[in-house]
Each structure stands twice: as structure tokens, then as C-alpha cells.
Amino acid sequence: MDYVLSLIGPMAEGAKVTLSLFCITLLLSVPLGLVLALARISRWPLLAAAVNGYIWLMRGTPLMLQLLFVYFALPFVPVIGVRLPDFPSAVVAFALNYAAYFAEIFRAGIQSVERGQYEGSKVLGLTYLQTMRRIVLPQMVRRVLPPMSNETITLVKDTSLIYVLALNDILRTARGIVQRDFTTTPFLVAAVFYLLMTLVLTWFFQRMEKRYAKFDE
């Protein structure tokens, strides 16, 4: 038991890395995903096609590959080439990748709002932006909560990929201790850390769903 307690300190250090990547990724990819979703359903076919291509690229290649690309290959790309430190590289790759998934979730949510809602808004004089902000997006939020819950839980666990950039998140910290102490206990402690995080997320999304259910049929 003392041994397990002694692990908590270093593991909490790892959890800080995991949690910061998780939070920053969400903060960046949710708004970016929303913009991408709106662009994908926009009236401009070129913009929609470009976003389509972007989503295909991001969902069609492994996140691990994207991580490695941003860190190792991006510096050599002409024009946009920039050398980023390890953690910012991870943030860029994660945000760009998750924005693609969120874009598809948001698009489905937006398109599930009936045409009558747009017409009702239009005859009252609301502009397209007002209709989106006041009428469509609030209804979308409720409908995307279940898939968003799925996706954010996946994100918690995907953060463990950053070991390839030698970042010490929960899992890489645990592995280091396993190799040092010749015991697999740290893996169990890591599992508990992940479970606690997903528990909080699950609870949060359930509360949100309840809050948004109050106007339901």
C-alpha cells in the first residue's frame, strides 16, 4: 500500500501532462470543429470541398503519424514550415485531428435541426448568423452530447500516444516506473487515473444531457 501511495506523486505529475493536453485540445478543437462544420454545409462548394478533403485527410491517417509529422516533418515543409517543441507539436496534431471528428459530429447535429426552424426564424427577421447562434446551435448541442461524450472519452485515452514524443504523461510515467521497479503495479495505478478521468467526464455529460432534456417531448 505504501508503495502504491509512493507512486501517486510521480503519476500525478504525468496526469498534469495528460490533463493539459486534453484540456487544450478540447479548447482548440471544439471551436475549430464548429467552424469546419459550418464551412462544410456552406453555400460555397469550393470551401465545402476543401473541408471535406481536410476531414478525409485527418480521419484517414493515424493520429500517431500526424503527431510524428508535426514534430519531425513540419519544420521542412516550405512556407508553413515551423519547428515546434514537443508539447506544442502534440497540441497542434491533436487539435487538428479532433477538430475533424468534431466537425462531423456538429455537421450531423446541425443538419438534424428541421427546416421549419430556419423558416420560422427567417419569417421573424433573424439573419443567418442569428438563426445559427440563437436557434440552431442550441438545439444542436443537445443532440451532439452523446457522440461528444464518446469522442472526449476517446481523447482522454488517445493522449497516451504522446509517448512517441517522449512526453511523460500518465502512461509513460507508469512504464518508466515499471521498468525501474520490476513490478506491474504502476500500470494498475495508471488505469485507475484514466478511469477517474472518464468517470468525471461521464458524469459531466450525463448532467448536461439532463439539463438539455428539460424541453424534450
Binding site: 421549419g116 423558416e119 420560422g120 421573424l124 427577421g125 433573424l126 439573419t127 440563437r134 438539455y212 424541453f215
Partner: protein, 270 residues
């Protein structure tokens, strides 16, 4: 008959000098290869209540939706209170006013839909104050009392804080009417407002509409309610296959329809 004079002293019995609220001329409209409107014209004057009836697929709803830009017309012209919404261009599609003008002009018209189209994530009160606050920038302190007065008018004060999902169809439609009125339109368009309702709920919606007519609201009503058309409308338009077949004062229309198709339609409906 004691009320044989009712049509004589009705305020719009001789409306020819009244202000023109809607002028639609030779409207044409196709959905793909299907022609739905083949040159429909209408002059609606202030205070007039006009019912548009006709079989489904006759183009009556489409025509109504063209008037407030829910559909774009292919040919013809529309002006609202003297302002051009769409202008006919010989040999090509009608030209619309700039977007901002279209929005401003269309705001003179309120609309009530068959499917209500209330905002499900807002309470009854929020539904009504949404457009006055967002579009007209009314402060809450102005919008709320107005909304409450409108709710009283349609008899739904008690439902102020309910969500639409908790209302019956008839209540939803009365909220929709109150919501449209909150924007203080000069004209109200009704697109089959009772077609989605059970017969007993139809009555309460028609009562609200009748009340509006008595307040001299200018109204254009697409409906299957022959009783309403006969008793409340001043004029009835019968449409079939994208054309106006017959138009007449409502008494005359129902008692002595001129056209064979009108007679056949009324025969089915009554």
C-alpha cells in the same frame, strides 16, 4: 334574414381606395421541371382578409411562401406596401431587392405555419420575445410586457413558462400567432394553420384568427376550413393547377360559384 346587411356595413366591403399591402403580378415558379405557379396575381388591400383555397398541389401554399421570400419566384413581380421585393425582368428571372431590403420588407409580414415551427428549446415567453429582442433590439423590459399582453390575447398567460413540448397543437399554434404578432407585422400570412390539428383544437385557433380579423388585421389565409373562409374572409380565391380559377367576395363565392372546377371542389369539401 336579420343580418343580410352584414356585408354592406363590413369595413372592407368597398375597399378599392384602401392602401395596397401586397401586389403580386404574374408570379411564375417551377420546382425543377414542374411548373407550380403559372402566372398568379393578387392585390391585397389594408384590412382585407382573403382566403386561398384549392386542392393540394394547386400551388396555394407555394404562392403564399413566395410572398415572404421563403421561395424565390422565377418570373413576375411582388411589392409589399409599395416597395419592390422582386421585379419582373423580361426574358429572365425576376430580380430581387438587396438582401437587407428583402429582410426589412418581409418583416412587414408575419407568418404562421401548419407545423407551428416553435423553438423547442425556448419557453413560450422566450419564443415570443426572441425576435423583438434579437431583431428589433428591444430591451427585455419592453419585450416581456408586450409578450405577456399577446399571451393574454391568445388566452395562454398560464403557459408563459412552459416549453412547447408541453402544449397541445392548438396551444402551440396560438403561441405561434402571438410570436408572429410580437414583431408588429402589417400583414399576417397563414399557411394551413389548422391542418395539423384535431377538429376540437381547430376551433380555438380559428377563434384567435377571427379576433385578429375583427381588429382589421390584413390577412392572407391558405386554408381548408370552408366555414372560416365563408364567415371571416372578405374574399376567396380558388386555385387549381398553379392558376387562380376564380375569385369573388366570400358570400358570392360560396353561394354562386361561377366555375365548374370551383363547384366540383366545393362539392367535395362541403
Amino acid at each position: 334574414m336579420p343580418n343580410s346587411t352584414s356585408s354592406a356595413d363590413a369595413p372592407v366591403a368597398s375597399p378599392a381606395d384602401r392602401e395596397i399591402m401586397i401586389q403580386a403580378t404574374e408570379i411564375t415558379k417551377s420546382f425543377g421541371a414542374t411548373r407550380v405557379l403559372e402566372g398568379v396575381s393578387l392585390t391585397l388591400r389594408k384590412g382585407e382578409v382573403v382566403a386561398i383555397i384549392g386542392p393540394s398541389g394547386s400551388g396555394k401554399s407555394t404562392f403564399l411562401r413566395c410572398l415572404n421570400h421563403l421561395e424565390t419566384i422565377d418570373g413576375g413581380s411582388i411589392s409589399i406596401e409599395g416597395e419592390a421585393l422582386a421585379t419582373a425582368v423580361p426574358g429572365s428571372a425576376s430580380r430581387y431587392a438587396p438582401d437587407a431590403d428583402v429582410r426589412r420588407i418581409c418583416r412587414k409580414m408575419g407568418m404562421v405555419f401548419q407545423s407551428f415551427n416553435l423553438f423547442p428549446h425556448m419557453t413560450v415567453l422566450e419564443n415570443i420575445i426572441e425576435a423583438p429582442m434579437t431583431v428589433k433590439r428591444q430591451p427585455r423590459s419592453v419585450a416581456v410586457p408586450k409578450a405577456e399582453a399577446l399571451l393574454a390575447k391568445v388566452g395562454l398567460q398560464a403557459k408563459r413558462d412552459s416549453y412547447p413540448s408541453r402544449l397541445s397543437g392548438g396551444q402551440k399554434q396560438r403561441v405561434a400567432i402571438a410570436r408572429a404578432l410580437a414583431m408588429e407585422p402589417d400583414i399576417m400570412l397563414f399557411d394551413e394553420p389548422t391542418s395539423a390539428l384535431d377538429p376540437e383544437l381547430t376551433v380555438e385557433v380559428l377563434r384567435t384568427m377571427r379576433q385578429l380579423a375583427e381588429e382589421h388585421m390584413t390577412m392572407l389565409v391558405v386554408t381548408h376550413e370552408m366555414g372560416f373562409a365563408r364567415e371571416v374572409a372578405h374574399r376567396v380565391i380558388f386555385m387549381d393547377q398553379g392558376r387562380i380559377v376564380e375569385t369573388a367576395g366570400s358570400e358570392e363565392f360560396f353561394s354562386a360559384p361561377q366555375h365548374a372546377r370551383t363547384r366540383a371542389f366545393l362539392g367535395q369539401m362541403l
